[in-house]
């Protein structure tokens, strides 16, 4: 008996390009569903970009055919300096290629504790590119691991003008909202906003026990 006609006789791509957006080896946390890179492959009639979506922990993955690609920035999208740099990457089987960036402000360390009815975050910043000033430091709470400026159940912001020394340890606290207070745990995350840059750079989300 003949197998059904296969109209699509083109093999699907199998090779994986994965990597992390990082600064000096440290991954940069970003807002979920927001940041992209562009992947281009020359030599074909259809010359349009392949968007590479970056997860909130700074990692990305694309499934491609083997070949030579160029990985580049999507202008203005991401808490770093937009450059015209292109990284050439040769994809063959499973390829790992990190994407180094130059950030403005980064979350160097962050930790959280429950203090009464508040969550208190302690963090340190790292400043790399100094062309833009510090606009704010923010804390976000959510039920699950994804917590950022758009997805959160509680948030609090300290303006940059209220932070005299960006190099010192900063504490920021936010009240636990009623929607979370009955749970066993929640997730907290801090982000730093640079003036003139739309996206924040985030730390890692951390689980905080409530009971």
């Amino acid at each position: 008996m003949l197998a059904g006609c296969k109209y699509d006789n083109y093999e699907e791509p199998q090779s994986t390009l994965s990597g992390t957006i990082n600064y000096q080896g440290q991954a940069v946390g970003v807002r979920s569903n927001a940041v992209q890179l562009e992947l281009w492959q020359g030599g074909y009639q259809l010359y349009t970009k392949i968007p590479v979506y970056v997860q909130q922990d700074g990692t990305f993955k694309a499934i491609l055919f083997d070949g030579d690609y160029k990985l580049t920035y999507l202008k203005g999208v991401g808490p770093w300096v937009t450059k015209t740099d292109t990284i050439a990457v040769s994809v063959k089987g499973n390829t790992v290629k990190d994407f180094p960036i130059e950030p403005f402000f980064l979350i160097k360390t962050s930790s959280f504790v429950k203090n009464g009815t508040n969550i208190v975050g302690t963090l340190t910043l790292q400043r790399v590119n100094t062309t833009q000033s510090l606009e704010a430091v923010r804390i976000y709470l959510n039920k699950g691991t994804i917590a950022d400026s758009n997805i959160n159940l509680a948030n609090f912001s300290i303006a940059g003008s209220a932070i005299p020394d960006p190099n010192a340890t900063i504490t920021i606290s936010v009240a636990i909202p009623s929607t979370l207070s009955a749970n066993d745990y929640l997730y907290a995350r801090v982000g730093v906003k640079t003036t003139g840059v739309t996206e924040l750079a985030y730390g890692a989300p951390q689980k905080v026990a409530l009971k």
Binding site: N33, G76, V77, L153, N155
Partner: protein, 611 residues
């Protein structure tokens, strides 16, 4: 031998006139055919919302949400706006008009010079209007003013026109309007462009250019391209604002148009200013008209009329105004329009004797734009009540009762849930507690699919011209020029004369006037874009009250023995139950992407920022 009879060939069988082809020579020598072409070109001018076509977009921003057929509930769940949402690249229309302009000169022998000049002026009006729609959405675009004809030589470089600067397109619109305004004729027409229509388009376009020049450069990181295909230099703002003010004032001072004030009830008067057809309405400058007698109708009333007064067995209630929008209407004493539902110490509700009492002493434009609880339309009461609250003296609290049967009665025999809702989930019933009134037809049967509606779509009216002039004057520092214009619009809406003075007319108040006056007339999204506040207001955050659409649910109180409360009404504010994703406007929404096919065809086309 067979005798074969040949019938003679019909005379001139091969020279018959075709019944389905019209030649250029025929068109350009027949004024009626030219008017037919103009009608086609006017119809092709794009809008972001309207009474047909993309009317549902009214529910995509913050003035309204979707309460209709559940298949469109995606409009209550827009996690962001696509970068291609407002994409436009209709060079087909541009080419048709360029061809028309060349053909009038080439083929027309029977038209006299004045007729040719008049038709050419009108064609240039439509072309400049289209370029305005293009530059609003895409920034500077290739300025093509003649036919581009390929010679099949294999070299297409002559056809590759680069993008003009954003300012150059606005300048083009301004100079075109100046050039045609005295030859365009059509005096007195509201459907074809005349001198004042050219001034209206100019005042709006110059105002947009001025605000882009000013507010783009106030962003921490202005949105520009290196060649200024996107990005107007800040130094050009004053020039544009001056032109906008002059064009608007020429219309106002001509006396040809007046703010409509013919109806005694101020709410109904505002509705009439926009919707009343006929020559008594001297406010409208240009409309897109419909006419049932000629079978040009639309179903906006069928789709959006309040549920309990719908005349068909389906439809109604699709675009429903939000509480956010309703609260933007000020009180007549000048205080902010936030509705008072709780006592100052938040210990109890405020009890209203009548449903409409909570809306007393408000800007009359609310009553002209929105159907709220306790109001009526077409002489019929629109029954809006979410449910009842029964006092339980044992627990000292209310028990809320609602029903999924619209218009049902409670155990006390009186109304439980109104025939017009609101209801948390039933489709084609308001989810916000409000219905739209502006543009809904007051004629009998016009909300049926059999009869349909022919209310017109207003493109330009004097109310907007007042706002254009006031904003331009304000930005130029001429607040004494701006004040009488804003106060005139407010006085028409029931405010006392001179309700604002130099200290109380702030920029945010001016912008709010524009919102409440021109709601649902395709202005808000463009205003937020040119003021560069879209990303500031709609941040995609569920905890930001500007991003979520709110509702107002009225409840009848059942509390026997308490005469100050029993039988009265209270109101509850809540996030509209069908509304899901907070509105989210991002930097890459200020300009839409350019179609990839255009970039593939013409490598000179610079992509828009964030594309």
């Amino acid at each position: 031998m067979l005798l074969v009879a040949f019938s003679a060939c019909k005379d001139q069988w091969l020279e018959r006139t075709p019944q389905s082809i019209i030649t250029e020579t025929q068109v350009w020598n027949d004024p009626n055919m030219i008017v037919g072409l103009l009608a086609n070109y006017y119809e092709r001018l794009p809008t972001d919302m309207g009474l047909d076509g993309n009317w549902r977009n009214m529910a995509d921003y913050d003035d309204a949400m979707w309460s209709g057929y559940s298949g469109e509930d995606g409009r209550n769940n827009l996690t962001n706006y696509a970068t291609s949402r407002w994409q436009l690249w209709d060079y087909g229309l541009i080419r048709d008009i360029n061809l028309a302009l060349e053909s009038i000169d080439k083929y027309s022998t029977t038209l006299n010079t004045a007729q040719k000049a008049q038709f050419s002026a009108e064609l240039r009006f439509i072309r400049a209007y289209e370029y305005f729609e293009l530059v609003k959405r895409e920034g500077g675009v290739p300025l093509v003013l003649k036919q581009l004809i390929y010679d099949y030589s294999g070299d297409a470089t002559a056809l590759r026109i680069p993008r003009s600067k954003e300012s150059e397109i606005y300048d083009f619109i301004g100079t075109e309007m100046d050039a045609i305004k005295d030859v365009i004729g059509n005096t007195g027409s509201t459907t074809r462009a005349n001198k004042y229509t050219t001034l209206a388009l100019k005042s709006r376009a110059m105002l947009y250019a001025g605000s882009l020049a000013k507010y783009n450069n106030l962003l921490p990181a202005p949105i520009t391209t290196t060649g200024n295909e996107v990005g107007i230099p800040a130094s050009m703002a004053t020039g544009y604002y001056t032109k906008a003010l002059a064009a608007a004032q020429e219309i106002i001072n001509s006396g040809v148009y007046q703010l409509y004030k013919g109806t005694p009830d101020k709410g109904q008067n505002f509705y009439d200013a926009v919707c009343k057809k006929g020559t008594t309405n001297k406010e409208v400058i240009m409309v897109r008209d419909f006419l049932s007698a000629k079978a040009k109708r639309h179903s906006f009333s069928y789709d959006n009329i309040a549920r309990s007064i719908r005349e068909d067995n389906l439809g109604s209630s699709c675009v429903t105004p939000s509480l956010n929008f309703v609260e933007s209407f000020e009180n007549l004493d000048g205080t902010a329009g936030t509705l008072k539902t709780r006592t100052a110490d938040n210990s109890d509700y405020i009890y209203y004797t009548n449903l409409s009492d909570i809306f007393n002493n408000k800007d009359a434009r609310l009553a002209g734009t929105v159907i709220f609880p306790g109001s009526s339309f077409k002489g019929l009461n629109v029954e809006i009540q979410a449910g009842v609250m029964v006092w339980n003296s044992a627990t000292s609290s209310y028990t809320t009762n609602t029903s999924s049967v619209l218009g049902s009665a409670f155990t006390d025999g009186k109304l439980l849930t109104g025939a017009s809702g609101p209801h948390a989930s039933i489709q084609e019933v308001t989810n916000t507690g409000f219905y739209i009134k502006k543009f809904i037809d007051q004629g009998a049967g016009t909300s049926t699919r059999g009869i349909l509606s022919d209310t017109w779509w207003v493109r330009y009216r004097l109310g907007e011209i007042y706002l254009n002039a006031a904003e331009a004057a304000f930005e130029l520092g001429q607040i004494t020029v701006a004040l009488p214009l804003i106060n005139a619009l407010r006085e028409r809406a029931g405010f006392p004369a001179n309700s604002l003075d130099a200290s109380t007319l702030t920029l945010s108040r001016l912008r709010n006037e524009r919102r409440v006056e021109l709601a649902f007339e395709d202005h808000r999204i463009w205003d937020l874009k040119r003021w560069r506040i879209g990303h500031v207001i709609w941040t995609g955050n569920t905890t930001n009250p500007d991003n979520m659409m709110y509702a107002l649910y009225p409840y009848r109180i059942i509390r026997p023995g308490d005469a100050t409360r029993d039988g009265k009404y209270v109101f509850v504010k809540l996030v509209a139950p069908r509304f899901r994703a907070p509105r989210f406007f991002q930097m890459n929404n200020y300009y839409s992407t350019i179609p990839q096919s255009a970039i593939d065809n013409n490598p000179l086309i610079i992509k828009n920022p964030f594309q």
